[in-house]
């Protein structure tokens, strides 16, 4: 099973590395990438400064695997990768990176959206929103 969870934020250097790794796959003509970035939302006038992610990893990993399988079944893609942060990710930093590649562009947009929506809906990941006064709330996906 492919490793999805990474400790802390996803760096732009990591993303660049993954792009480079696909340049030898010359049957690929199109990549689509999704990056989830921690937003400095205001919650009752207090700014979110970070999200601390936890996950039920033993349940989450098989679900990521099922999502991958279903994306390959539905769309003619060459490869896909999912990376999700655990631990603290500060505002402006990246917590989710989905990378879809295919010979032709038409499928990569829908495959990307489907994957992101499935992750949001099905994967047991939890997010503690740390506010500027060190209080916190709990993030819920909508």
């Amino acid at each position: 099973m492919k490793k999805v969870f990474v400790e802390g934020p996803i760096s732009s250097a990591f993303i660049a590395e993954k792009i480079i790794a696909h340049q030898s796959k010359t049957d690929i003509g199109a990549h689509s990438l999704f990056l989830g970035q921690v937003r400095a939302d205001k919650i009752e006038d207090k700014e979110v400064t970070a999200i601390e992610y936890t996950a039920y990893e033993e349940m989450a990993n098989p679900i990521f695997h099922e999502i991958r399988e279903s994306v390959f079944a539905k769309f003619e893609i060459t490869c896909m990768h999912i990376y999700h942060s655990l631990g603290v990710v500060k505002k402006g930093e990246i917590c989710l990176f989905v990378f879809v590649s295919a010979p032709r562009r038409k499928v990569v947009f829908d495959a990307l959206e489907f994957t992101v929506e499935e992750i949001k809906l099905k994967v047991p990941v939890f997010g503690k929103e740390i506010l500027e006064d060190h209080s916190h709330t709990w993030k819920k996906n909508s």
């Binding site: 992610y53 033993e58 047991p124 990941v125 819920k140």
Partner: protein, 77 residues
């Protein structure tokens, strides 16, 4: 012994991340009643229950050998 796991806001409310204890065979619906008697503050939050890392319908029977997790709303991404 069943293994109970608590995550996110549920872990915060229950003030624990896991515990092992014997449970009687019961449906997920009945487990909710049992759990909310044990930790009344859970009455006020929504949560899902997984058994052995999978979600099931409310009628699914939980047994004493299972890993049962109490999961607050998902917040991935």
């Amino acid at each position: 012994m069943a293994k109970l796991l608590y995550f996110g806001q549920v872990a915060e409310i229950a003030n624990r991340h896991s515990e092992e204890l014997p449970i009687e065979e019961m449906s997920i619906a009945d487990f909710r009643i049992w759990l909310e008697r044990k930790i009344p503050e859970l009455t006020f939050v929504s949560y899902q229950i997984s058994a052995n890392q999978q979600l099931h319908c409310e009628a699914f029977m939980l047994t004493n050998d299972m890993e049962i997790a109490i999961l607050p709303p998902f917040a991935g991404g």
